[in-house]
């Protein structure tokens, strides 16, 4: 584990978790795209239930 000084430590603890925001955006975006694909690409083309 890298040693970091107190200033750096304080900066990390006070900073926004931008990596987390980016990961969450990717995950939620991917889920929305996958849902749309399943709805318009698989479900709707199957037509009405007979």
């Amino acid at each position: 584990m890298n040693q970091i000084d107190e200033d750096e430590r304080g900066r990390i603890l006070e900073s926004s978790p931008i990596g987390t925001f980016a990961l969450m955006a990717i995950v939620i975006g991917s889920m929305v795209i996958a849902w749309l694909f399943l709805y318009f690409g698989v479900f709707i083309p199957r037509g009405i239930i007979n």
Binding site: I4, P17, R46
Partner: protein, 541 residues
């Protein structure tokens, strides 16, 4: 504080849980083999459905209930730093639950409770199954009482102080379980047992399914909350960092308990007994309950990001590589979150009112719940066990590397098992079938997926054996001098000095739940007493 009594209590519960787990794993592998039809000597619908029912009961009711109780006792005593309130009563609860499990096992293993671990009347099991299941739940209610008494006693002795997060989560789960189990308890007491004993000739399947839907979805959160508890209270410390936010964690547990309950009708989208409006209302609620899971995902990942950056990680994603991937708890949470993303997507599809028709009662559904339960939830049960087992037996874990191999193989096996399951669902394979007897192009196309599932099941079985072996060796190994590890709960990076009462108590949320349950289940249940319905005679074993 001498904690030997609670360690013994916890170990007793966890051993029952994990013995149930390993037995169920063998059954699971048999089931994918039988269903595939590759080995004709195994073909037997009778044995298959008895096995599926037993597998489901062992995994969904026995593993979970005993694990949650055992883990809860340990959390209560270590986080509150106080002995278990009335440990004798806790042991009574254990023995009542165990007696119930043994009682239910007889009809399950003799094919007299092949009801697919559900309570969907009029399909009926032997009365011993219902009484056994009731005893299991009664034992767990004793656990709930002990947790809530300890919670309230601690609050009384420590006015205005925040209840430790681990205990807050455990108590929220106890409250949730009381509410959750009430639905199926009503069904079993007033419908299933009287029907099985011949006291009544017919039963209203619509009412039974509505009562079971009350229990069926929030039970998932009862199973999941210990996993989320570990996310919040163990993972940040194990990763070398801090919990991102204690308050947000409490809000997530409250949201799970409150919104996990009034949403069960997404299991009944295709049922005729409830009107579309009620189903739509529950469908909206189902999407709302995804919120605490998103909040949990965010908070846990943010905690990991803090840890990764404190360990020298740079850039947008550079902190991921610096996390201690060789720590079983950290590895588990990463793998659990990956499975939660995929399983969560499946859940969103299930909850989508229209699209549900596409996958309803297909192989997609067991694929989904295996990913969420056997994937995300159980892998965190492993992580918790690897963490607390050395503390319980006062010996170091037999093999850390074996634990890491076990966790990876569980993840890989679960991915191999559940991906084809989802695909088979989209291809139209029904769930709850013991074999595919038709030889047409559609069903022949299912064969490669069945083969992959057999392989995935084998990987999982091997992984499960490694898990049990590691725990048993840890306990049976000779003591190591100087081993004195203590449980470490994660600290929030901004310590919590005081909290508003709504984030530190559960009374208010009980009233909120009562109102929401009255809104979402009041008319749907009462309607059965005010309109003409038709009873059905039992059928089953």
């Amino acid at each position: 504080m001498d904690d030997s009594a609670v360690r013994k209590l916890t170990l007793g519960h966890l051993w029952v849980a994990f013995i149930a787990f390993i037995l169920a794993c063998f059954m699971g592998e048999y089931q994918v083999l039988e269903r595939s039809g590759f080995i004709s000597a195994l073909d037997s619908p009778t044995v298959y459905f008895a096995s599926v029912s037993t597998h489901g009961v062992l995994m969904g009711f026995v593993l979970t209930t005993f694990f949650i109780m055992g883990f809860g006792y340990y959390v209560a005593t270590t986080s509150l730093k106080t002995p278990i309130w009335n440990i004798k009563l806790a042991w009574y609860g254990f023995w009542i639950s165990l007696a119930g499990t043994a009682m239910a096992a007889v009809p399950l293993l003799t094919g007299k409770a092949s009801v697919l671990y559900t309570f969907y009347l009029p399909i009926q099991a032997h009365v011993a199954f219902y009484i056994g299941a009731t005893l299991l739940v009664v034992g767990s209610w004793i656990w709930c009482v002990i947790m809530l008494v300890m919670f309230s006693q601690w609050k009384k002795s420590n006015p205005k102080k925040p209840v430790p997060l681990a205990m807050f989560a455990t108590s929220a789960n106890a409250m949730l379980w009381f509410w959750t189990s009430a639905g199926v308890a009503l069904e079993v007491l007033f419908q299933a047992i009287p029907l099985a004993l011949g006291w009544i000739d017919t039963v209203d399947p619509g009412l039974a399914r509505t009562l079971f839907a009350w229990t069926l979805h929030p039970i998932v959160y009862f199973w999941l909350i210990p996993a989320y508890t570990a996310f919040y209270v163990f993972v940040p410390k194990q990763a070398g960092g801090y919990l991102f936010s204690d308050e947000v964690a409490r809000a997530a547990f409250i949201l799970l308990a409150v919104f996990g309950l009034p949403i069960g009708f997404h299991h009944l989208y295709m049922d005729p007994e409830q009107a579309s409006g009620w189903k739509f209302l529950h469908g909206v609620g189902t999407f709302i309950v995804s919120l605490p899971t998103l909040v949990t995902g965010f908070t846990v990942i943010a905690s990991l990001e803090i840890a990764g950056r404190l360990r020298g990680g740079k850039g947008l994603f550079g902190w991921i590589g610096t996390l201690p991937w060789t720590n079983p708890m950290v590895l588990s949470v990463i793998l659990a979150l990956l499975m939660l993303i995929l399983g969560g997507f499946g859940g969103v599809v299930n909850a989508s009112y229209a699209m549900n028709a596409m996958i309803h009662n297909t192989a997609w559904v067991p694929g989904h719940f295996h990913l969420i339960f056997a994937g995300t939830t159980v892998i965190m049960y492993f992580a918790i066990a690897y963490y607390i087992w050395p503390l319980l037996v006062k010996k170091p874990l037999f093999s850390d590397s074996m634990a890491l191999i076990q966790l990876w193989t569980w993840f890989i096996g679960m991915s191999i098992l559940t991906t084809p399951w989802h695909v088979l669902g989209l291809l139209g394979q029904p769930r709850r079938i013991s074999s595919v007897v038709y030889n047409n192009l559609l069903t022949l196309a299912w064969k490669p997926y069945e083969l992959a599932m057999i392989f995935g099941g084998l990987v999982l079985l091997g992984s499960a054996c490694l898990f049990i072996y590691n725990l048993a060796k840890t306990q049976l190994n000779p003591a190591v001098a100087g081993f004195n590890d203590q449980i470490e709960y994660a600290e929030p990076f901004k310590p919590v000095q005081s909290l508003p009462e709504y984030l530190n108590d559960l009374k208010l949320w009980n009233y909120v739940i009562a109102v929401l349950m009255a809104i979402s289940f009041g008319v749907p249940i009462l309607q059965f007493f005010f309109m003409e319905t038709f009873g059905s005679p039992a059928w089953g074993y």
